[in-house]
């Protein structure tokens, strides 16, 4: 169960045990809010629950929680070391609202193309936690049978065209998937998720440009978490608001508070309608933050949420963003609006934690792939030769 950095809470409540409890209390401590005020609160971007079916709002809550707990528990397993986990691990904790908000606006058969920081995208799109856990354990029962690991999880059957270890291709793939939907006349929508760093790339231009040209039902969601590895976004882009790029392509474009799932949902809904009804693309910039380091676990501690002491950002900055955490924010809203009781919320949390724990157990108990398996799947139904051996 993660806690905040003990070394010096700079905001009220950061030493509370659960981040959920913390943030709830922090909010309560600030003011006893009415449901109307909750709906209006925030930094101006925030919108409320009006017009959002309860079920969908609850789905967003559970979805963000599933992603959060799965990554937290996976982080704990990495840190604990006893499973000998290895490989890439890009944590999306802090950014869950972007995934849940967008996916809440999508249909099951819509497509997403994700990037290296895509666990939360996948979970929101219906990814199976057990198969994801097993993939991080490089087990045969994993989504990719141990071939891919964290960075390449894919579930074509759920419209998940995959995470990817290379920055940029998702914009082409999503535009292509949108093109395919148009050819088939299905009204499906395709969403590309990328970081602020992915906009530096010619494929970003190409994907969006061709979506504009061919009027494709494609949405690009740029999750601007302020950093490309250790490089602040402002240093690698002359634009302050990345969505401005859309102006040069004459497509719809806007920024949204990526720490507010309802705000993201509202923007995504408009974009999805534009895509589905008018077959037009949209560029969305979601301003968000990753609580952990770029990859791996520098500065991370067991039971503490967030990575502190990193050279390229201040702990105060990390704490300030954690104070905006979208999960307790939504819980607060749901409780204030009587969509959820505290007890029901705790129950959901318990269910999610159980599901996560079981998924990790499943992974732990699964078998490793055969060494020889790597010769398969180069082409369908055949194997390549084991050229490392002389026979």
């Amino acid at each position: 169960m993660p806690e905040f950095n003990e070394t010096g809470p700079e905001k009220k409540g950061v030493s509370r045990r659960s981040f959920l409890q913390f943030a709830g209390v922090a909010a309560t401590a600030t003011a006893v809010v009415s449901s109307a005020r909750v709906a209006m609160a925030g930094n101006g971007w925030t919108i409320g629950l009006e017009g959002v079916p309860d079920e969908r709002a609850l789905w967003m809550y559970r979805t963000m929680l599933r992603s959060r707990w799965w990554e937290e528990e996976m982080k704990e397993a990495f840190l604990a070391g006893k499973d000998g986990l290895y490989g890439a691990f890009h944590i999306s904790i802090g950014e869950e609202a972007c995934s849940a908000g967008v996916m809440a606006a999508l249909n099951e058969d819509d497509y997403i193309a994700s990037n290296h920081r895509g666990h939360s995208h996948l979970i929101a799109k219906g990814g199976d936690l057990s198969k994801m856990s097993a993939e991080l354990f490089f087990k045969d029962s994993g989504y990719n049978k141990g071939f891919g690991g964290s960075m390449h999880i894919t579930d074509v059957s759920k419209g998940i065209l995959g995470m990817n270890g290379i920055i940029g291709p998702q914009y082409l793939f999503a535009a292509g998937a949108a093109y395919s939907a148009k050819v088939r006349g299905t009204k499906q929508v395709a969403v590309a998720f990328g970081g602020d760093g992915s906009v530096n790339n010619g494929w970003y231009y190409s994907g969006l440009r061709n979506a504009a040209l061919y009027k494709l039902p494609m949405i690009a969601v740029v999750e601007n978490n302020g950093y490309q590895m250790s490089m602040p976004q402002q240093r690698t882009n002359s634009l302050i608001n990345l969505h401005q790029f859309g102006a040069g392509l004459d497509i719809a474009h806007e920024s949204v508070n990526g720490m507010d799932v309802m705000a993201v949902y509202a923007v995504a809904k408009r974009a999805v309608e534009r895509a589905r009804n008018e077959s037009l693309p949209t560029l969305i910039e979601a301003k968000t933050y990753r609580y952990y380091d770029h990859s791996g676990l520098a500065g991370a501690k067991p039971g503490v949420m967030g990575a502190f002491g990193l050279p390229y950002r201040s702990d105060a900055e990390v704490r300030a963003w954690i104070a905006e955490d979208p999960i307790p924010k939504l819980r607060r809203q749901l409780v204030a609006n009587s969509i959820l009781t505290e007890e029901k919320a705790d129950e959901i949390e318990a269910e999610v934690r159980k599901e996560v724990t079981e998924s990790i157990e499943f992974a732990r108990n699964s078998a490793a792939p055969d060494a020889q398996a790597g010769l398969q799947h180069v082409f369908a139904g055949s194997s390549v030769s084991p050229s490392q051996f002389i026979v």
Binding site: K145, L172, F173, G176, G207, N210
Partner: protein, 324 residues
């Protein structure tokens, strides 16, 4: 059955494919899929299948054509990306790190019914630099997950493309216009030339000559000269470069004990290197040679590029040298 230009023959295969699959889609740049056959009949895929499946307004953006087509293919819709000849590697990273890897790195999940129709230039005078290249099929063959075919005549061009359209793996077909110098009858009906099958063009005992694509055209042109020189050459056209059908070549060299590989690609790490390496490993004691374009870009002046290109007279000389 009449002689048909290879471009027309390939459009026949595409037309057949697109008629049978209502979603098959082709992205391309400016090589409008229209061609006239030998009897004046015209195939106009654009007219037949329309702006959505054959968008007649391709931007100059080969990464879109290949990357977008890969996205289409990932949704289960067969896609063809036609790439112009002067920028054979503009989308190499997409093919290397995405198209070729996606099935494997997802543990077999991703099908990639994608065909890249790669127009290739060939060693033409006057074009220079970027417009007279050949041999880049070796670059694609050297990376995992892509099947690579190179027809040497219109019959194979149609049949190999038809075969590619049935694959669930990405296939790149290199189309060199020079293969029209090797006219063949082409049936009107659809047929398949299986990927991975070599063609033994002539049997012989003195030496084995291997070449595909434009080199195969030159080898064919060299046949009278070889006969005149009293050389009994076994001529093999692998047709597929990856996976390489090496067995018939090995068998042949076991018999002739001499292997000459002709290639319009570069000397270093062109396909000839792989063929020789495989045979050298399997048939110790044989004699090997390759006649390839030098390790230089193609110069424009006719005098230079003609001298540098392996052609029929050079092949005859090389064979004489080998059997001497």
């Amino acid at each position: 059955m009449v002689n048909k230009p290879s471009n027309f023959a390939m459009l026949e295969a595409l037309q057949h494919g697109m008629r049978n699959d209502p979603h098959m889609t082709m992205l391309y740049e400016y090589q409008r899929p229209v061609a006239a056959g030998p009897l004046g009949n015209v195939i106009d895929l654009y007219k037949e299948f329309g702006d959505l499946r054959i968008p007649d307004w391709g931007p100059i953006d080969e990464e879109w054509h290949v990357g977008g087509a890969a996205g289409i293919a990932m949704t289960g819709v067969r896609a063809i990306a036609r790439v112009p000849s002067m920028c054979v590697t503009r989308c190499f990273e997409l093919v290397f790190n995405q198209v070729g890897k996606l099935r494997h790195m997802t543990g077999g999940q991703v099908n990639m019914p994608l065909v890249i129709w790669q127009d290739a230039a060939g060693r033409n005078p006057g074009m220079a630099g970027q417009h007279a290249d050949a041999g880049q099929e070796a670059l694609y063959a050297s990376i995992p997950g892509i099947k690579v075919v190179v027809p040497s005549n219109p019959y194979d061009a149609k049949g190999l493309l038809a075969a590619a359209l049935q694959e669930n793996d990405p296939v790149i077909i290199f189309h060199y216009p020079a293969i029209d110098g090797n006219p063949t009858d082409v049936p009107d009906d659809n047929y398949v030339v299986p990927i991975g099958e070599a063609a033994i063009r002539q049997e012989g005992t003195d030496l084995t000559i291997v070449g595909y694509g434009p080199a195969a055209v030159e080898i064919k042109r060299a046949l009278p000269g070889l006969e005149e020189a009293g050389i009994s050459a076994e001529v093999i056209d692998p047709r597929t470069v990856k996976p390489m059908p090496i067995d018939p070549i090995i068998e042949s060299v076991r018999k002739t004990n001499r292997l000459l590989v002709v290639d319009h690609g570069h000397e270093t790490l062109g396909t000839a290197a792989e063929i020789i390496a495989r045979v050298a490993i399997a048939v110790p004691g044989a004699k090997f040679a390759r006649s390839t374009f030098p390790d230089a870009p193609p110069p424009g002046a006719r005098e230079m590029i003609a001298w540098m290109t392996p052609d029929a007279p050079k092949i005859v000389e090389a064979a004489k040298h080998m059997v001497a």
